[in-house]
Symmetry: C2
Subunit: 512 residues, 2 copies
Amino acid sequence: MPQLGLLHGRVWASLLGKLLRPPGAVCIGAVHSHSQGQRSMWVAEAVLVSQLKPHQEKSNFIIKTPKGTRDLTPQQMVVREKILDLVVSCFKRHGAKGLDTPAFELKEVLTEKYGEDSGLIYDLQDQGGELLSLRYDLTVPFARYLAMNKVKKMKRYHVGKVWRRESPTIVQGRYREFCQCDFDIAGQFDPMIPDAECLKIMCEILSGLQLGDFLIKVNDRRILDGMFAVCGVPESKFHTICSSIDKLGKMSWKDVRHEMVAKKGLAPEVADRIGDYVQCHGGVSLVEQMFQDPRLSQNKQALEGLGDLKLLFEYVTLFGIAEKISFDLSLARGLDYYTGVVYEAVLLPTPAQAEEEPLNVGSVAAGGRYDGLVGMFDPKGHKVPCVGLSIGVERIFSIVEQKMKTFGEKIRTTETQVFVASPQKNFLQERLKLIAELWDAGIKAELLYKNNPKLLTQLHYCENMGIPLVVIVGEQELKEGVIKLRSVASREEVAIKRENLVAEIQKRLSES
Amino acid sequence: MPQLGLLHGRVWASLLGKLLRPPGAVCIGAVHSHSQGQRSMWVAEAVLVSQLKPHQEKSNFIIKTPKGTRDLTPQQMVVREKILDLVVSCFKRHGAKGLDTPAFELKEVLTEKYGEDSGLIYDLQDQGGELLSLRYDLTVPFARYLAMNKVKKMKRYHVGKVWRRESPTIVQGRYREFCQCDFDIAGQFDPMIPDAECLKIMCEILSGLQLGDFLIKVNDRRILDGMFAVCGVPESKFHTICSSIDKLGKMSWKDVRHEMVAKKGLAPEVADRIGDYVQCHGGVSLVEQMFQDPRLSQNKQALEGLGDLKLLFEYVTLFGIAEKISFDLSLARGLDYYTGVVYEAVLLPTPAQAEEEPLNVGSVAAGGRYDGLVGMFDPKGHKVPCVGLSIGVERIFSIVEQKMKTFGEKIRTTETQVFVASPQKNFLQERLKLIAELWDAGIKAELLYKNNPKLLTQLHYCENMGIPLVVIVGEQELKEGVIKLRSVASREEVAIKRENLVAEIQKRLSES
């Protein structure tokens, strides 16, 4: 932490604590037996101590979610559900099967898979038995599943939470617990057909979510390695230079160059050669151009990658999405396990946004080919080639949420269709009988949990919650064998024979 | 571990290891630099070592899921999805909002909530920062959410995984990671209306799942405490005797009595008095009978509980589910936080099952009232009364899976509607164009990722996967501007104008 002159360290920490405390956090100051006077800094009030044993030494206990995590409120859950439904139905449209794996894996399963990011893995405490870690992504568990069950071919999707101990920058929609939606195709097939389908899926999802214009950057690990080789990067530095290149988009070329030269000891002329390449991006014509590149065309690996990219462009053209795809020599992707094509979808800033923030608005989907990962789990090293993608639903979720706030959209958090009310006292029994009838007919219905609620309270509840229909039962109705059916929007009421009520409601609901 | 005579401890461990190894487990024997000859016991074959650094000391690495956890295969996912859909739509029918909380909580949040079961909580390793634990249920996080956000009233559902370090007895459908489906009503309302709705929900779900006949046992913590008091149990032993009573159903009365007397030091005559009560179960008439009970009717707490149960029986009669409800004085429920009514749904054995296994087939849903839990998180101790239920989907899942196996039901793991095929070589481009058209129209479609697959291979794939329709494009069709549409079941083929294909497919799908 930088020194802050006059402020004493602890004062600073306390101030920081106040500033960083999330708005919902509540502090329980536990007054324990041997320090009766101690109180929470924030809530100097009577506190509940009966549940805490006197020998407990913790003095303050802030009620909050763990750092980098959050609850999803009902409003957020509605948005989340809509996004996930769209994503999953796209995965199913492409013939994927569902799969689920445990939240934690044996620690060894995750070892040596994530390069420099391994430090971000959450480990479980050794409570006797196996050493376990929370999963870091859904890809490694998928590869473990394939190897363990000797599955040679599979198209699967997986929606689930993953955990990474990153410094959370909540503003950007980055959390320590977040949801991933993965689609992967495992198996030995003719080149680039599954890879092209992955790009098609990303396009379908991003178009479907209506997030604005987007672009999918594509590159190939073999082209990157070839580029490093012909530029004169020593092979021992491929990995670390690759992770510097990965920062382009978040950092300017000048800063990345400085990191490579000053921190990683790359010769300036080598950095400049790389600089020439990583500025290149374009369509299939750039692939052709690179085939003619005097240096790159001498590298076998690069040529393989370029050949596959050419095929990929042919297929995405047939899929009608070529204009969304950009061959971008600066795209690196951080993860160790990629072996071939890599891709990353970015939302394009509107002209106004572009002026404010010239750099990348951040990737919303990404993936690539990893032909070696399954083999790492197989006792004989048998490989199962894989290609896949992951949708960054958290970032998408933030964007959609922000949009809804901007447009002031009101979200219904329940799906209740009918409210059961009574204008008179002592009608709880009738209300209960009536609502059971509705539930049994599959109608979504609610009532107030009060013996004698006021009619106005009941009608207000419907308006607040957006419930479209009210059924009203009172003395008069009971006598006549009818129920009043009221439309909340129009305030129109009609009397309906009790025995026809369910049918009438179902008719109205199917019409609306 | 018990001593086992002649077998040396390590030999025993190795034997046990073999016996307990799940069928899918694969062992990677890592041959490391300084012990070239070492091999796995189970797989004495060439092994992949390139990914493991030479300094690693682990010699064997078994590819498996952690103890007590499992992957869900696509077949299992289909069953799971159907069950969860039914459960969630019932929760929504009753007006519940969705909520999600993080997989882990601050360790303090879970402290002092689960009584003797606290030892089963998974802690995360202290990697600097907060001390965290994986959630043990969904109820405590819900209470934490209510207190933290000062929510006084809420009806929410939550479907999510929870983790408990139990000794897994996989046969019974018990795991260390399992899914819970919770519905809870928080707020101050008129008595027993929300409680009755919880019982109604359990009935709707269990009837809907068609698991066979079931019964919901109901009791009240205040009746239990009153019963202990009037039988002469010292107050300090209420909790531990309650947890003995909780074992009835899994253990005979004789064994439970023995535990209470021999292990917990209860006077035999006290145990016998309890024994008289816990044999009682019945309908509302038993409630009336207990009101007249010379001892129980002297206890204020018991009378309160009995009064509420009487009201509960009135409401469940109006809901039409009274015959499913049984007042059972032996029902205790283990968790510390219950304060009022408690309930547990059990499947009733068929006559054949009853003969084999006279004891409980196990609870499939349970819950109760917990009026004090939210107050434990509130700095001022403000209470928010709550009542809720949890559906034991894992057990239900095992039962449904077993049933499907018995009846040999085949499960489709994908939803693909149309397969895109070609009888000729060099038609990949046409297939790709065609399938993109289908995807863009929202049709679930697949093709083989091969340049030139054989027609028979393609048709076999459709039969294996249960895909109902095939579209076939070849030279002839291309020339005539048509596509052949084939029904896999009837093998009938018709030629359809290319421009009408999507409409025709949609028509066929809507009819089927």
